[in-house]
Symmetry: C2
Subunit: 668 residues, 2 copies
């Protein structure tokens, strides 16, 4: 191992006299060397880090005016560049290379997803508190938009259980508000994408996301229990709904309950089908018949929702003609044909509101509140989860995805859809069906259009309990109990934000719950910024002098610097020997730090104790120096400490003085 690379120089500044011994030459050499080969282990020591967002070195800062001008030039030049066009219109990347294999893959995947999205759309409308038709309205136009703008092949745009629940909590089952919400969320998503705010979901940590998803699943499950039991229960939060269910439990309807529970059991069994295989374990050894059977089993398992809906629908039709009225609650009339293309409602008259008061556009927007931020973020989270799950380590462009789902939602809002995103469950189906490009969306969209035109009369007979069973059988696996154990093993403190989010989402409105979780997590970060760890060691210099080495483990910025000053003073008052601050790990500082370091140096000067900085990065050195502190001394090589002590006539009171007198040849 090589010695510290930033060697052979000492740097100090006594009061206002600026040192003439510069370290710049050596550092420039080092920086020049940083991207080259053969510089040994150059990362330790006093080298400046080089920002490498895409492997390029940072350009030294220019003057503000010229900087702004060249930025504009650069910007306008870039906007029309092919790379940016490809980035913003991903269809240009894959369409020219589109081939037959892609077409087959997309067709199969599109149809499979289409068979999944139709029952899901009908069911998720119920979660959003809307008639079943609205789910279908939001499942085709957005798909077509996504083909042009989407950067991820596996994303099937449409209704999602989580976003549907959020829509319900924000729009409270008013279709006008849901459609307006779809437009506004789309616009927020698009703006966030254009301003590159996709990074915001980075602040939702794993535990918070798990807590949120689990709570949402339980709430969705809860909201469907009433459909299984055939009773009515209103409310938005977990506690409210359960209270209502218990209150109305006497109205339980036996046919719905029996049908619902049967459907759940059937779905859970069919869920295991895709992993069942006949024949030998090795795929190559199977006969053609075995392969066809396996494929059939897989298709039946994957389109279990569609099959169940068809079976129950047929059962409903038969029972109806036999009985003159089904024993089950059914979803009822769905208007046949495509929805009208119209502006989303921007005003509610007296008959359209629950309160019976007229509501202007502003009233409606005000009622949506933080939902306008939370729904786009959660939509992005779910969407990005699909992209990442199947990206094989390739980077995911969150901003482009925001633009794509934003545009899809805006389009959907003109055909009376409610907010949607890439739903995780269909994403998995899409990938497993061998999707190749976003073009698969065209087939699922087309299937939804066909069903709207031809099949809506038959949808009348679909029992509510069947749709509830489909939802319950899906969300029950989204309760992330299994994540608790590794979290407990890995880092117990991470359970706190997860559990807090989980409980908060259950008892409060969802958007409040997740904001509380994120807030708590942010407090963890701030605490860690405010309370660095310092290691304190009494060491002996090469010349034999005892000194106190204090090593902070991270950057010194405003929330932590007073704490560091107090701690350094405390330790230094306890051991009246020279103090060295090892700044190897201090990668950043700010103006507040500079002022407090200046006070710290004055504290030391007032009690005639020596203090030195070891291995301080030059940029931070410049920052601290700008306040012209007294006796600010930085050195970069261990041996220089003795030289510095000698210069200041320091003699250890405890030792016999020989230690400090030992002269060491320095290579300054």
């Amino acid at each position: 191992m090589k010695p510290n690379p930033a060697s052979d120089h000492v740097y100090f500044n006594d009061g206002f006299k600026c040192s003439s011994i510069s370290i710049n030459t050596n550092l420039n050499e080092m920086n020049g060397d940083a991207n080259g080969a053969g510089s040994g282990n150059g990362s330790q020591g006093s080298n400046e880090f080089i920002l490498t967002d895409d492997g390029k070195k940072i350009i030294p800062p220019m003057k503000p005016m010229s900087c702004a001008k060249s930025w504009l030039q650069e910007r306008s030049r870039k906007t029309f560049k092919k790379k940016i066009l490809h980035k913003r219109l991903p269809i240009l990347r894959w369409l020219p290379k589109y081939n037959g294999a892609d077409a087959v893959g997309d067709l199969v995947a599109g149809i499979t997803v289409g068979l999944t999205v139709i029952p899901q759309a009908l069911a998720y409308s119920g979660i959003a508190g809307l008639p079943a038709a609205y789910g279908l309205y939001g499942s085709f136009l957005g798909c077509f938009v996504y083909i042009f703008l989407g950067s991820c092949k596996d994303v099937p745009v449409g209704p999602s259980a989580i976003v549907a629940l959020l829509t319900f909590q924000v729009a409270q089952g008013s279709w006008q508000k849901s459609v307006l919400l779809c437009l506004l969320c789309g616009m927020v998503e698009m703006l966030m994408g254009l301003f590159g705010l996709g990074f915001l979901i980075d602040f939702v940590s794993g535990p918070v996301s798990s807590g949120f998803t689990s709570a949402v699943s339980l709430i969705i499950l809860t909201s469907q229990v009433k459909n299984i039991l055939g009773i009515s229960a209103k409310g938005t939060t977990f506690v409210e709904i359960w209270t209502q269910i218990i209150h109305n439990i006497k109205d339980i309807r036996a046919p719905d309950t029996i049908l619902g529970i049967t459907c759940i059991v059937v779905l859970l069994i069919m869920r295991l089908l895709p992993s069942c295989k006949v024949g030998p374990k090795e795929p190559n050894l199977r006969t053609k018949t075995q392969n066809i059977i396996n494929k059939l089993i897989w298709i039946i398992g994957t389109s279990r929702n569609a099959i169940l809906v068809i079976v129950c629908c047929v059962m409903g039709v038969l029972l109806h003609s036999y009985n003159d009225g089904t024993p089950f609650k059914v979803i009822g009339y769905i208007p046949q044909g495509l929805p009208s293309f119209a502006l989303p409602p921007i005003h509610l008259n007296v008959n359209q509101t629950i309160t019976g008061k007229e509501e202007s556009f502003l009233d409606m927007v005000r009622g949506m509140g933080s939902g306008l931020i939370v729904i786009p973020l959660i939509s992005l989270m779910e969407n990005i989860a699909i992209c990442k799950a199947f990206a094989n380590g390739k980077p995911v462009d969150a901003s482009q995805e925001l633009i794509a789902i934003g545009a899809a939602n805006i389009a959907n809002s003109f055909v009376q859809g409610f907010p949607g995103t890439g739903a995780l469950s269909r994403g998995a189906v899409n990938n497993a069906s061998g999707v190749r490009t976003p073009l698969s969306n065209i087939y699922s969209g087309a299937l939804v259009i066909l069903s709207l035109i031809f099949f809506t009369p038959y949808f009348y007979y679909i029992p509510n309990a069947t749709l509830a069973a489909i939802i319950i059988a899906a969300v029950v696996f989204m309760v992330e109990v299994k994540v608790v154990k590794p979290m407990w093993r890995a880092k117990k403190s991470d359970l706190v934000p997860g559990l807090v989010t989980f409980v908060a989402c259950l008892v409060l409105p969802l958007e409040m719950g997740i904001l509380i979780g994120v807030g708590l997590n942010v407090i963890f970060i701030l605490y860690s910024a405010a309370r660095p760890k310092l290691s304190v060691d009494v060491l002996t210099s090469p010349g034999g002098t005892e000194y106190l080495m204090i090593t902070p483990d991270r950057c010194i910025i405003f929330p932590s610097v007073d704490y560091v000053r107090n701690l350094v003073n405390k330790q230094s008052l306890r051991n009246n020997i020279p103090v060295v601050i090892d700044a190897s790990h201090i990668y950043g500082a700010d103006f507040t730090a500079a002022t407090v370091i200046e006070s710290l140096l004055r504290d030391f000067a007032s009690r005639h104790q020596l203090i030195f900085f070891y291995n301080l990065k030059p940029s931070i050195c410049n920052l601290f120096e700008s306040l012209s502190p007294t006796e600010f001394v930085v050195y970069y090589q261990e041996q220089q400490l003795d030289e510095l002590l000698k210069e200041r006539d320091y003699r250890q009171s405890k030792t016999d003085g020989t230690a400090a007198a030992t002269a060491i040849a320095l290579t300054v």
Copy 2:
């Protein structure tokens, strides 16, 4: 320089098979060594940092139950310990050692501060929008309480300009609300102190604090201009007040204006007196007469406010008897005698509110809003600023100060005082007058009581313009223009939160302004946590193999870990050579990081690229391992890299293969 201390061991974990080659022995040795002498430069390398809040090592975590039990025992034992008693009742520290010199110092300082606090109390009542008497009511009982609980000798409790302005913005000139606010703020302060929340002011950075103070000074100055001009102007924010002043400029009163401006000029000149000295520069060479003259000049300069008030008051009395009515607006009737000792008002009837509606206790509290958090924090900030200014590097106990000013405010609220704190201007006077202990507060408190009993009839004649002049001459120096230049030189980006706070405080309510500033600063911290810098170098191992060394400069936690994964993947796809993550600077990680690192390892495994971790702290190593990632290999010595590459049959495609074949003797 010694080589890396954590040497001679290699640590890896292939899949689920846990490695038997442990590094623990070596590390325990290291930790045991960390606080001892002679361990060389032990701070670099893979040692774990030791938390040293007071120089003690951390006790290894116990089981939760036994932990809680022993914590309780420890806690109850500690509560009754002498040290804690001394901490919570600081009078026990200094009273037993109290001597004659202390008594003289405190007497002189107490009287000087008393002469300052009386005119300030009258003036600051005006800032709070209250009759002058309330300032005096809040200037004695709290002082006596502080003697027992205060930990800082220089703090004179009483009205402060900044807190008075905040009180005005929150209570809007209602004395009932101001007094209730005083009680509630006191209680919040006390609770914050007991829960150790004093650290919250660490989150107010230097620039934000400067911006806030400057804006407050300008607003206070603005609020007093109307008194100088003798016109009326209502409003709370900077813009509102100036609009009103310009609107009413026609009502300007010449006598008030002339008196006000004269007073300001006189005060600014008298302000220079304390630094004027007659006789030789060396104090020792001065004659006794010269010393007495110097002392007199100093006293006149320091009590300039009291002198000016007395002069103007006498002038008012004379003009009144001569003219039958003064030409100036005067502060008017102040009830003689001490205020009654009574509960603060907790309910407003119809006649007591501006709106003419009754207000319950809850209505009043709701109206105060975030003021109940911001006023205590700003009070603490001002108070701590005094403590730090004169502490000479000794640590300041923010929690104890919170308890002390909280108790003082609670006491004051029972004698109809409005919120106060240790005011910076009087703190400086106190220190300069040679204060020795908090006992000086008894004299200033007594002086206020005397003035309330005997002098209030004369206060009637004090011109408003004189009090306004006192305020203006004080706050004009609080506009921190001089801090901009060093900030510009040191770190230009730090100007942003400062300027934003300044502008926000001028145009919005103050508490909003400072919250915006703090919020912006917090975003800076979060951004830095979310976007670590990574340096990327192509290096050659001792055995001659090229590899990619990626060094993140800080901890890997949830907001940054996806970014790091993307960047590492991007760089690794570009250079298809083995990748080493140098984890020397990674001091922390969380569960989210562990999951993403697990995905990163899978990304690498799927494209058959090698990835190793160098110098990863054992605690983080355990964290990452808890998710049982595939091919997770950590090494701590540079030479081991070649061994690891050889084990995995890695051959560089570009080189002729000899590099990888070079065997290096390892001391595993």
